[in-house]
């Protein structure tokens, strides 16, 4: 055990003293913050050009309403950081001819889009509607705003046509507000407390951030193990090492060293995240038990994927050889992440439950479920930890078998079949 500790400590010290590690430690959050900031800045900068659009209005009543709504939008300040919407009346004429002429102007860049209103739209004629024409259909702000503005204008016009009392109609169609709240709890005296409002931080940001941070830490850590093992083979240090310790001790020392490095990084990042949450007034959304679970699943994930990547490193003499074997291991690590949106939408579904019990996916996805209210059942958490711990033991055992032979192998291009043979070898 002392030798394993000596290897772990040396791995840890070698890593944390390296310039690359310190740079990565400091620059990763800087890069994340910078990329978020850049996106915001770019969004504001890109969307400042006026969106000019033409409205073909055979009814003669809707263009004015759209113009008024556009002016009102700019007046409220909505258009201050976003582009202004500038409508213009399209000339009268045969609709298809007008559409062709407006299309030409869009292509020339004189207009961003145009709207063709059917003549029978106010009467609610069958098939009558509004067509929005644009070259850039991915810009949704304008069509969404137009739909709302034209809906309101059409309703108002119809009310006038039907001679309905406008005030009465407004009362009839007035939307009922819906507030999203949490559960009503009782105080010590048994009196119901006010339900807390739904929180973007608690329901989305914290769970997603916890899961992605765990993924990022594992993704950053385990390839370092692979590189370290291959480097030892390339530097020919391995022979001195295995003359002093068994390959399994060497593997365990390296795994623990890497785990220590990753947990140290967590210390900084989790500390920073908690401080940020406190500063933003959502500190209660990051409870201590969530941090404890984060560390438990981080440990398990590092041992699972660390043993896989170490074994791959031991089996290869060069990084180039490792690429083909890394693909399935990377797939195991990344594939469960594709299920996170489904779990976020429905954390107690069967899909969420079973996927989070699949050991390679458990660390990331069970952590996500734990962070999402109301959280999984205790038996699910217990079972997931048991299954993942058992899977971890199997991974470390198999890695030890591969490591024992692989660390001595030179000049052989490894294949999955050969690795399987090494696992089964006595």
């Amino acid at each position: 055990m002392r030798k394993v500790a000596a290897i772990a400590v040396t791995e840890f010290v070698n890593t944390v003293r390296s310039r690359g590690f310190l740079l990565a430690l400091m620059l990763t959050p800087v890069f994340i913050a910078a990329s978020a900031a850049v996106q915001l800045i770019i969004k504001e900068r890109v969307e400042t050009e006026d969106r000019r659009f033409a409205v073909f209005d055979p009814t003669g009543r809707l263009f004015d309403a759209v113009s008024k709504a556009a002016a009102a939008r700019d007046g409220t300040g909505a258009g201050r950081r976003a582009p202004r919407f500038v409508p213009e009346r399209a000339p009268d004429g045969e609709p298809s001819r007008v559409a062709a002429e407006l299309s030409r102007r869009v292509k020339k860049g004189e207009l961003f889009a145009f709207v063709m209103i059917d003549a029978g739209v106010l009467e609610g004629r069958q098939g009558a509607g509004i067509a929005y024409h644009a070259q850039t259909q991915t810009y949704l702000d304008l069509p969404l705003w137009l739909k709302g503005a034209l809906d309101d204008a059409v309703k108002e016009a119809r009310v006038g046509r039907e001679k309905v009392n406008a005030a009465a109609f407004a009362r009839v169609v007035k939307a009922v507000p819906l507030r999203r709240l949490g559960m009503v709890e009782l105080d010590a005296a048994g009196a119901p407390l006010a339900a807390p409002p739904a929180s973007l931080a608690g329901d989305f940001i914290v769970p997603a951030a916890a899961m992605f941070l765990l993924f990022l830490l594992v993704f950053m850590s385990v390839p370092m193990l692979l590189h370290s093992v291959i480097e030892e083979k390339q530097l020919r240090v391995w022979e001195v090492l295995v003359a002093s310790v068994s390959p399994f001790q060497l593997l365990m020392g390296k795994l623990l060293g890497n785990t220590l490095v990753s947990l140290s990084v967590s210390f900084f990042y989790l500390g920073g995240a908690v401080a940020l949450a406190e500063k933003c007034g959502v500190g209660e959304q990051v409870p201590p038990q969530l941090i404890a679970w984060f560390l438990v699943f981080q440990l398990l994930a590092l041992l699972i994927y660390g043993s896989m990547f170490s074994a791959i490193g031991a089996a290869c003499s060069e990084l180039r050889d490792a690429q083909s074997l890394m693909t399935p291991a990377m797939f195991l690590l990344i594939a469960p992440m594709f299920g996170w949106v489904a779990i976020l939408r429905s954390p107690d579904s069967s899909f969420a439950r079973w996927l989070s019990l699949f050991p390679p996916a458990t660390p990331m996805l069970m952590l996500l479920r734990l962070a999402l209210p109301p959280g999984p059942e205790p038996w699910e958490v217990g079972l997931s930890v048991l299954l993942t711990a058992a899977f971890t033991i199997v991974c470390v055992w198999m890695a030890g078998k591969i490591f024992r032979i692989g660390i001595l192998a030179q000049g052989q291009t490894p294949t999955l079949r050969r690795l399987a043979a090494w696992v089964l070898a006595k």
Partner: protein, 316 residues
Amino acid sequence: MSDTPAVRLSDVSKSFGTHPAVKALSLEVPRATVYGFLGPNGSGKTTTLRLILHILLPDSGTVSVLGASGTRAANDRIGYLPEERGLYKKMEVRRQLEYLSALKGVPPARSRPMITAWLERFGLAEWADEKVETLSKGMCQKVQFIAAVACQPELVVLDEPFSGLDPVNQEVLRDAILELKRRGTTVILSTHDMTAAEEMCDFVCMMNRGGKVLDGTLDELRRTRGDGTVRVETAGGAAALAGLPGVASVRDLGRLQEVRVDGDPQELLKALLARGAVTRFETVRPTLKEIFLAHAAAPMTSEAALPRDSARAGAP
């Protein structure tokens, strides 16, 4: 000191795929001696060393090292300098040596004085806190040697320790190895360098194609394998030897002829005197290289090795 040999290999074989690297090898390395493994590339020397260190496990036979049989239990008492040198380039010299000693179960507090002493002896003290990548190849080799001996092992295994060293450093290393022996350390040396082996080894084991060709003390090898060769100087030159009984082969060196005698050299001398004046007639003590060259190409049989008792007879 224990009477058991430092290393005992009994009928050990090891193959890689279909290629036999070591074939039915048996030998004993007496304690507190310098034992040389000699042989050309691919003769099985390095594989044998790895078997002794339990880096490789034998397919058959038993390996017993410092009294521990078939386990790595003795590895903490063995220092190893592999043929393929390897150090962490980004680690400082002293920290690296302390780490490698710690892997032998010697904590830094105990290894530090030894490391300091060895660094001073090899003129590396001022490089102790420098990274290995700043050292020359020769310096790295000396650091690697220190890594093998800093844990004060009972057995040191050195695979080609002199390769890549200049003559001055070869001499420094040679002295260090002999001092280890004087302190009671058993040294196993693998080398192609027959001259170095001749100077340093108490025992040698010649290997070729995975098998043992010869083993024993140097004197035994010379006595047993070297007799039967004489150098002759006669007025008649090589022609005077023609047709004489017992002459197996003649190597004409000009003024001298080297004759391999099949039988009693005294009978050859009588026959030569009968033909004319003999100005020189001497028995040749062959060098290790000559013994090896004479036997390396021969088919290997168990009879090629000296009887074990005979090999042990000269142990100090």
